[in-house]
């Protein structure tokens, strides 16, 4: 009897059984690992999608790595990651803190902020494409010259327009994450801070922000890795254009594979994309520190 209790205790202290992960791992194996191996194999072949798959050594890799469009796609992707992060992180943090308040009007606003997330990316892209049209869009429609720009046709402007539309769609999601994070902070911390004479600003910087550390890491990981996967929205909005101005890496991969019908090169691009995604995700996990499960409330 005593030994049984101690076994159970040991089991509990080790956390839930590893077997619980099996269904997820099976899905992961079938839909991620196996295709990944397939893509790695295809990157050493030349295949037009129709005929025979021919082993072709490194020629796809050589073509991809020497193609200036690939370099350009990497730069555009890096810009999207950085600008998206700069645009989305502060706004969602502040909105998240704001909507976590108990006031009724804040709850109502939170529902409104949430609406863009309910729309599919393709629908968002089509709507913005129509709104931003320099001839039929909202600028000429409302007669406001400042809005009558060639938003999606100007190579210098288009990247920021894309960042804006992405932010419009995804800020609600990150706001939700932060809202949940803020609501989990114990009220006692704020009470203690108040007793110590901290005002609202000080409470934000010394209680809210440190307490949100892991929420920030989660949100940032999703933001950064998600930026690598933006495809549908950009594809519908600009199709990578004008020229190569918004040809992100995933879009470049798709267009190489399914428009130019060069599956070998597209697979090589896919491998590059996966490696970058892995490295970024690992780096962000590292930022969270080694001892992730340690309490955030130590010393509180």
């Amino acid at each position: 009897m005593a030994s049984m209790i101690s076994t159970r205790r040991r089991a509990l202290s080790r956390g839930p059984s590893g077997w619980l992960a099996v269904p997820a791992l099976v899905f992961f194996l079938v839909f991620a690992v196996i295709p990944l191996v397939g893509v790695l194999f295809l990157s050493f072949t030349s295949w037009d999608g129709l005929g025979e798959i021919r082993l072709d050594g490194m020629s796809s890799w050589a073509a991809v790595l020497t193609d200036p469009v690939t370099g350009n796609a990497l730069v555009v992707t890096a810009k999207i990651i950085v600008f998206s992060f700069i645009a989305q992180a502060p706004i969602s943090l502040l909105l998240g803190v704001f909507t976590s308040g108990a006031q009724k009007y804040r709850a109502a606003l939170a529902v409104l902020y949430f609406v863009p997330l309910l729309l599919s990316s393709a629908a968002v892209a089509i709507a913005f494409k129509a709104l931003l049209d320099p001839n039929f869009g909202m600028g000429p429609g409302l007669g406001i010259p400042a809005l009558t720009q060639d938003w999606l046709g100007n190579s210098d402007l288009v990247l920021f327009v894309v960042v804006f539309v992405i932010a419009w769609q995804f800020v609600p999601f990150h706001t939700l994450i932060y809202q949940g994070g803020v609501r989990q902070i114990p009220a006692s911390l704020y009470e203690a801070a108040q007793i110590d004479g901290a005002g609202r600003i000080k409470q934000f910087f010394h209680v809210t922000l440190p307490q949100l550390k892991y929420t920030m890491i989660t949100s940032s990981t999703l933001m950064v890795v998600g930026s690598l996967a933006y495809f549908d929205l950009v594809f519908v909005l600009t199709a990578g254009g004008p020229g190569y101005s918004t040809r992100l890496l995933p879009l470049h991969m798709y267009l190489t594979g399914f428009k130019a019908n060069d599956m070998g090169a597209a697979s090589a691009l896919g491998v590059i994309l996966v490696v970058i995604g892995l490295v970024l995700a690992l780096l962000l996990q590292r930022l969270g520190g080694r001892n992730r499960s340690a309490s955030q409330l130590e010393g509180a």
Binding site: F28, A32, N135, A229, N261, G270, L278, L282
Partner: protein, 439 residues
């Protein structure tokens, strides 16, 4: 500790799975048979010929319940990608819609489409109903792999008569007249030309016609057979230079590089009077007839041939565009599906009703003996114009992106886009394209 590291790796892997899920794009075939699971399948294009194709298949299915056809429609650009991917994955439709040319050749090389030569020999009435010059475009190495299924689609210079009257201008007959019109329309606050630059292939119409007018049909004929250095022909450089001069002069509508043809915004610019002219395929007449019926029926829509270029070698009667669209029959279909497909091609297409439907939609069917029907149509001005263009052209060059191999076609469209954006010079274009020939 060990477990924790594993957990970190797993989290990272899951995050990257987000990225990976993209690789699953573009799969999928038809699912959920409304007709029956073993019916022949057909993927058509949305737009001008959608209604006549739907009618034709409905009429067929109502009589031939044992050989029914399941029809689905897709937008042009999406369809091109989808059908090819599906065919490659063995999930393609029984009827493969196409343009002939290099794309058809890639299907033939991969053994994906049926040789229809024997079928045409057994059924000479099918072969004989077509205009021979059009039927020829479904041949690869002397064998027929595709038969025409709709209308002749020459590229036409459309213009808005109302806008021309307002400015007091005449449609351009020469390139110099065309360039002279640009400042005139700009001064009136009207864009000289509309262009769906985001779709890229409408840009190509400019290059096709200019090269044709300057250098004649031989220039592209050499390019099409992959003659080394064929892109270096001076006609190509001159055509590209003229395009960049027109862009420089402000010839194209503000924001042309973000306009997509699938949304028909390019035609709308012309019929709403925001742009004076548009160079587009014969099919947009059908689109405008549907979207702007008043504009078309009141005779405000003008149309003419592409201007000549002084000193050019090309015959002004030569035409570029699509001779027609085509049906190929998938060799991966079941015997029953193939039999149904061939029977439909034999008896279901270009019936009296189908031909009349096409004409009523504003299209010129590519079959013989339609002159009197075209004359009787309310759209006879345009129809006889387009029919005459297609029939009398000494040379009808197929759209280059369809005539070339898919990889070359894509490289050409991307680089031409760069020409319109003035990011590369004509010489750079020529060098890049010559490099694709050596591949």
């Amino acid at each position: 500790m060990k477990f924790r590291r594993l957990q970190t790796a797993a989290t990272a892997l899951t995050a990257s799975a987000l990225v990976l899920s993209l690789a699953a794009c573009g799969s999928g075939g038809p699912s959920g048979g409304s007709v029956s699971a073993d019916s022949a399948t057909m993927w058509g294009l949305t737009g001008g010929n959608q209604a006549s194709l739907q009618n034709s298949v409905d009429a067929w299915n109502s009589v031939h319940s044992d050989q029914s056809i399941k029809l689905e429609f897709f937008a042009n650009d999406a369809h091109k990608t989808k059908v090819r991917t599906a065919v490659g994955a063995g999930q393609g439709p029984t009827f493969i819609y196409g343009w002939g040319g290099g794309v058809l050749k890639s299907y033939v090389d991969a053994g994906q489409v049926e040789d229809l030569t024997g079928f045409l020999e057994q059924n000479p009435q099918v072969r004989d109903r077509y205009l021979p010059s059009v039927l020829k475009n479904g041949e690869i190495d002397g064998k027929t792999y595709a038969v025409p299924n709709n209308n002749a689609q020459p590229v036409v210079l459309y213009y808005n008569k109302e806008v021309f009257d307002k400015v007091g201008a005449q449609p351009p007959k020469t390139w110099d007249e065309l360039m002279a019109l640009v400042p005139k329309f700009k001064a009136a606050g009207i864009a000289p030309f509309s262009l769906a630059g985001q779709s890229k292939w409408p840009n190509l119409m400019w290059l096709e016609y200019l090269v044709e007018r300057i250098g004649g049909p031989e220039v592209f004929a050499d390019i099409a057979v992959n003659k080394p250095g064929a892109w270096s022909d001076p006609a190509v450089v001159e055509a590209l230079t003229k395009i960049q001069e027109l862009v420089e002069a402000g010839g194209f509508v503000n924001g042309f590089s973000s306009i997509a043809a699938d949304s028909s915004a390019d035609q709308a610019l012309m019929y709403t009077g925001k742009a004076a002219m548009i160079l587009q395929g014969g099919w947009i007449y059908q689109g405008m007839k549907k979207d702007a019926p008043g504009f078309v029926s009141s005779g405000k829509l003008g149309f003419t041939t592409f201007p000549t270029v002084s000193g050019g070698k090309g015959d002004p009667a030569n035409v570029v565009g699509n001779p027609s669209n085509f049906w190929s029959v998938s060799s991966k279909g079941t015997e029953a599906q193939k039999a149904a497909a061939l029977n439909y091609i034999k008896d279901g297409m270009f019936t009296e009703k189908n031909t009349q439907d096409l004409i009523d939609s504003g299209a010129v069917p590519v079959v013989k003996g339609v002159e009197s029907k075209l004359e009787a149509s309310p759209d006879k001005d345009f129809l006889t114009f387009a029919y005459g263009m297609a029939k009398n052209a000494p040379d009808f060059t197929m759209s280059w992106d369809q005539a070339l191999s898919p990889a070359q076609g894509d490289a050409m469209l991307s680089n031409l886009d760069q020409i319109f954006l003035k990011k590369i010079t004509p010489q750079q274009f020529v060098e890049t394209m010559n490099a694709t020939v050596e591949k």
